[in-house]
Each structure stands twice: as C-alpha cells, then as structure tokens.
Symmetry: C2
Subunit: 297 residues, 2 copies
C-alpha cells in the first residue's frame, strides 16, 4: 500500500503542488506563477513552505522540474538514457527542512544526441512515466521547449527538444512580425494554413515566417488571425521534423493543458499521425511511480 | 551628362545620405541611427533638413527605403516584378519642401510569390540595380530581413525574404538560448559548426536551436563562441533553403557591410556557391540609375 505524499512540479515560470492520497488521487492543488526565476536570493525553502502552508508537515514532498537545475534550489546531475522510474529513483537527493518537512528531489534526463550532441530535459520524463500505462510508445510535451519522447519497455530511449513555444513568444512579442497582430484568438483556419505551409516546406521556416508580415500587409490573413497562423507555421515545422525522426505508426500521446494540446493534435493529425490527448496530471502519477521505486511512499 | 544629387537611404533603424557628384562619386556622407522609427510625430521633413544641413539646397534628393512604407513619410505602393530602374523611375513621387529642396521618393518591389503568396522589399532592389554592371545574376542582401534576388536582362524577376537577422537578435537578446552567451566575438570555428549543422539538417532548425543551450551547458561550445554558433545555424538554414530555390551555378554577389558579408560568404562557400562581396555603396549607384531614368539628374 502506497502512502499519501505531496507532488511538486516546480518549473522556470510556474509552481504546482498536489496533495496526493494513498490511491494516487489528487485531494487538493496549489498553483502559482512563482517559478524558480521568481524566487529571489535562493529563498526556495521559504517559498515552498508558503505554498504548502496547512498541508500535513509529515507528508513526504517529491519535487521535479527546473528546481533541480543550475538556476534552481539543488542542482542535480542528469541521468542518462535509457532510463525509467527506477533509474530516477536511484538518483533522488533528500533534504530536511527546518520545519521538519522532507523534500525528495528528482532529476531529469540527458541523452547523447546524434543530432545535437547533447539533449536534456527536466520534468517531461516524469510526465511520460506517469503515462506509461497508456501503452503509447511516443509522447509529445508541448511548451517553451517541446519534447518528443520515445519509450521502449518502460524506459525512455530517446527524445528531441524543439524551441517552439519560446520562438512563438519571441516572434509574437518582440518582432516586426508581431506588429500587425491584434489579439491572440484561436483561428482554426489560419492555424491550419500555417501548418500546411510548414509541412509542405519544412526547411523554409525563416522564409515562411516572413509571410506572417506579407500576408498581413495584403490582408490575406486578418490581424486577429495572424498569431494563429504564426503558431501553425512553428508547430507545423516541429511536427514535420519530429515525424521524420521516428516511425509514423503507433499512438502519440500529447501531454499538455487542453488549449495547446488541441493545437498540437490538429497539426499531428494533419501530418498523418495517430495522436490523442494524454492525462494533464501525468506528472503526479510519474512522481508517484518514482517515489514508490525509491521506497519513499 | 548626369548632374550631382543627394542619395538618401532611409531605413527602419538607420539614415544615410550621400552627396554624389556628376560622375557618381561620393563626395561626402552622413550617417545616423535616426531610422524612421526614431522620428517622432511624423517630423520627417525636419529630420531630413537637419541631416542635410550645409549641403546645396538646389541638389535634388532621391530617397529610398522604408521611408516610403506605411510607417514612413510618404507611403508608396510597391511596383510589381519583373522590374528594373525604368519601372521604379515611373513610380517616383516628388515632394517640395519648405526650404525649397525637392525630394524624389522611390518605392520598392512586390512579387506574387509562389511560396509566400506575397513578398516585398524596399531599398534592396535599388542596391541590386546599382550592382547590375557586375554581371552577376544572383544577389543576397543580408540584414534584419535578408533577400535573395534573381536578375534577368537587367530586371529583378524574383526574390525571397528570410527573417534571419531579426531571428538572430531575438534569440540572442530575449531567449533562454542567449543566457549562456558572453559577448559577441566572431568565432570562425563555432560559426562553421553551426552552418554545417544547418546544411546537414535544414528542416531541423527549431530542434538545432536547442543545441545552443545544450552545447553551452556541456561546455562543448564556449560561452564567448555561442553567438557565432547561433549565427551559423541561422545563416546556414537560410543559405540551405535559398540555394534550393535557384540554380547553383553563376555568381552570387553579397551586398552588405563587410562583417556580416564575410559571414554570408563563408556559409555560401560551404554550400558550394560561387559568391563574392559586392559594392557597399551599391544603393548610391542604384538611386543614380533610377534618377537618370526619371530624368531627374
């Protein structure tokens, strides 16, 4: 019988904590924009205690995400692929806080990558572990830096990172391409037009991006639809390239909140992939598996 | 006999004026960072008079660049490709200033683009016209939005835009990829490594970009060389795609200041193109041709 615990997902720009019961169900949840970048002078312990206030101090805390990075609380070396929950469990580092609370830090994965030399992630592997019972072999975690992750026999064997979400934010907020945009409506047709363009000319991204301006200047894509078009160009380029790196058959599971997940699903279906939305609480199930393997709960 | 005139190149972020003699030689030059975005409340006339102070008020001024765009002084419709100096000469709009000075505004080109729907430029076409006597059929104008331009029989027949320079600035200054960088040294080996990567996997840009971070984290590219590596990835992706759009044979002329031009030449040579540096004052020669064709000088 597994014991209750607190699952923490502490990223660059967000903090999430889940009060998990013995069956793995989430009893309560705390969300905040206090990502690691928002914590000043390394005051992580204080920030954590503030967020967890009122929750049983005797419950073990399991924390994953950028909180174990160089900019985080405790820098943990990456574990090498292939790796499953057991390999991460062995790498856990435990810290006792002044309050009496115990925090178990779980690190991320590194891959000696043919394409990049090195590729790394923190927290996406845990989402994937929490989704292993889906039977899917391929996982996509959209975000600032999206990951495409392949699983064999319960272990992550390879993955690639795409700087898609960050690129969208850059072009949307800081570039000339963003100047003609009004709002960020979800325009399905404009999004699909962008995806189509990207799938048809995957090597032409730096060229295609200019069409965000030229089609805007000629009003062929309206100012309220331009950001959807931009999103389609970028997600389409990611999907086109990632699809070429692996088998097209088999189920792809998209792990993200519903808005961004549905965009990815649309683009992946257009590329001929079988893709479904995964569990948005997969990180909790993943931390639970790791904590069980470590004998913490 | 052609008469002396003043050639103005007024872009988004820079202003240039050249006092040109009857032979086309530049007698004097004024440079400023007063691009059109720096001019408040549409005070373009005042800005121009300030920059030209002391130069003969009787000399005709020919102005090209973003000064004729929607954000500029006088918005001029684009001229359609194919077009040469004569077609631009016909589209000139003339304005008399309070001082008695006369300014002739020369517009840019539009192309019904197969790849983008529409593609546009302002000022790069004038640089190309000023370089026609080189005999080259292909021209590259690196910059915020690079252009690859093909000429036949003295007319521009097609071109493509790449948002390479702007992308570099975005990733360099606003992204997580820029965090590990120290300085902007010109590291030839790192630049070439980036170009090589881009030429080998032109469709993988969003993926390759993450290596700016991962190779930095593992110190395989030093912090002072990372921006050169990033530059190589982006310019390499541009060169790889642009090369596929046209014949590889024939001379390519690169029109830019020497620093950025030599990076482009390096990448283009790596891609097997015959490329040389063009005349950095080509814009002056181009405006002269247009002004001659218009009977202004």
């Amino acid at each position: 019988m597994t014991r209750p615990f607190i699952a923490v997902d502490w990223g660059t720009t967000s903090f999430r904590a889940y009060h998990v019961n013995a069956d793995g169900g989430v009893l309560d949840e705390r969300r905040s924009s206090d990502g690691i970048l928002a914590v000043k002078d390394g005051a992580f312990e204080q920030a954590l205690e503030t967020h967890l206030r009122g929750w049983d101090i005797g419950l073990p805390v399991v924390a994953a995400g950028m909180i174990t990075s160089r900019q985080g609380w405790v820098e943990l070396p990456y574990v090498d692929c292939p790796a499953g929950p057991k390999e991460l469990a062995k790498a856990i580092i435990t810290k006792s806080l002044t309050s009496g609370r115990t925090v178990h830090f779980s690190t991320g994965l590194h891959m000696k990558s043919e394409s990049l030399g090195h590729d790394v992630m923190r927290s996406e592997e845990t989402q994937v572990f929490g989704s292993l019972n889906s039977g899917a072999a391929h996982f996509v975690t959209p975000g600032t830096h999206s990951k495409w992750i392949d699983v064999e026999d319960g272990k992550i064997v390879r993955f690639e990172t795409y700087v898609t979400g960050e690129s969208f934010a850059l072009y949307r907020n800081h570039s000339i391409l963003g100047r003609l945009m009004t709002g960020d409506g979800d325009d399905k047709a404009a999004f699909m037009r962008g995806v189509e363009k990207a799938l048809a000319d995957p090597a032409g991204l730096l060229h295609s991006l200019f069409s965000v301006r030229s089609l805007g200047l000629y009003n062929e894509v309206g100012p309220e639809a331009l950001s959807s078009y931009l999103s389609g160009l970028l997600i389409g380029a990611e999907v086109a390239h990632a699809t070429k790196q692996r088998k097209r058959d088999g189920l792809y599971l998209v792990l993200a909140s519903s808005g961004i997940a549905s965009r990815y699903l649309r683009a992946m279906h257009m590329a001929g992939l079988k893709a479904e939305m995964g569990d948005s609480l997969a990180i909790v199930a993943g931390e639970r598996l790791i904590a069980e393997a470590a004998g913490i709960i």
